[in-house]
């Protein structure tokens, strides 16, 4: 067993006790043979100070629960190597969303935007006996779109989402919007495009690509947004 001390500066805020948020300097010993991810160290940290609050679940980059701002960049604690981080590791909640406590944010607005794009296949044709089939080529169109885990790393790194979270759908929602526009089984393309043809919902995106930079699943919301714009242009010309 090889141990290593990891230094942290953690954002702390308990609205029941604290008048305002503060940064706590704290360090923890980790076993470098088994505890290599940031989440491992945070779990250890919670043993030292049990009042520290954060979300986590699958601990393997699938559920998207432990998204946080790590040394100034959004990411998932469970798939971030401690070795790659400069110490003291500054850990903050995702920016732009209301803080409930410590690293836990209120994601209501984020999911409201996600739901607004109707994230399900709309198809009023009578259902076939077994299932609605797609060709392999059509299915390939969905690659790079369906893998989103809704961790909110992208939307909370987007200044347009910070300024207008109630009106701008945000990169995660727009990636999902294109996922259903691109789906050959969906019949609501025109309504979906109508819904986004607004100065805010889609066009607050100025293609600065922060979303692409932080996505832990290496997806490209900017590209999906560009494809939605292309379809809109195609529709009028």
């Amino acid at each position: 067993m090889t141990t290593q001390s990891v230094k942290f500066r953690v954002y702390r805020y308990d609205p029941d006790k604290d008048a305002k948020p503060y940064m706590q300097d704290i360090s923890v010993e980790v076993d470098t043979t088994t505890e290599r991810k940031l989440l491992d160290a945070l779990v250890k940290l919670k043993v030292v100070d049990e009042s520290l609050s954060f979300r986590r679940s699958c601990r393997e980059g699938v559920c998207g629960s432990d998204a946080m701002n790590i040394n100034g960049k959004n990411g998932l604690a469970c798939i971030t190597d401690i070795d790659t981080l400069k110490q003291p590791i500054e850990v903050r909640p995702l920016p732009g969303l209301p803080v409930i406590r410590d690293l836990i944010v209120d994601m209501t607005q984020f999911f409201k935007q996600y739901h607004s794009i109707k994230p399900y296949v709309i198809n009023d044709s009578p259902a076939p006996d077994r299932e609605r089939l797609q060709s392999q080529e059509d299915r390939k169109e969905l690659d790079g779109l369906y893998e989103c885990i809704l961790c909110a790393c992208c939307s909370t790194s987007c200044p347009s989402f910070w300024w207008n979270p109630d009106k701008f759908v945000g990169p995660a929602g727009l990636l999902a919007a294109y996922r259903f526009i691109a789906d050959t089984r969906d019949e609501a393309t025109s309504q979906r495009l109508d819904d986004l043809e607004d100065p805010y919902r889609l066009f607050r995106c100025h293609s600065i690509m922060n979303c692409v930079d932080v996505c832990p699943k290496e997806l490209n919301p900017t590209k999906a947004i560009g494809k939605i714009k292309d379809l809109m242009v195609k529709r009028i010309s």
Binding site: S160, W163, D166, K167, L196, E197, P199, F203, R204, I236
Partner: protein
């Protein structure tokens, strides 16, 4: 008044397209002016005046500066939409921006078409 969350004004695509088309117009005009400067070796006052006395140059210049002003309108309005949340203040900024751009347009026409 009931507090409803309203979105859906259908001019997002139009403005986004306008910004790109006007950018292309400005680029072509700028390249033309740079080519003239290079060909005329810097160009004297007389050469400039002769160029801008041509009607087609006036027309092209008017189109290009109008494109610039339209481009500026979309860009500046975007900034107000991003950063100013109060509807009254934002509307005031929109009106002031429009007045400034329309003023610039009138002044541009006076200058460009005043060259004899």
């Amino acid at each position: 008044m009931v507090k409803r969350h309203v979105v859906g004004a259908h001019y997002g695509l139009r403005d986004w397209l306008v910004q790109r088309v006007t950018a292309v117009i400005m680029l072509v005009y700028t390249l033309g002016v740079v080519a003239f400067i290079l060909c005329a070796n810097g160009a004297s006052y007389e050469a400039w005046q002769e160029l801008f006395a041509c009607t087609w140059v006036k027309v092209v210049t008017t189109i290009s500066i109008t494109a610039l002003l339209w481009h500026a309108w979309v860009g500046v309005r975007d900034i107000w939409m991003d950063y100013i949340q109060h509807v009254g203040v934002r509307l005031t900024m929109h009106v002031l921006t429009l007045l400034w751009l329309i003023g610039s347009l009138i002044y541009m026409v006076k200058v460009v078409w005043g060259v004899a």
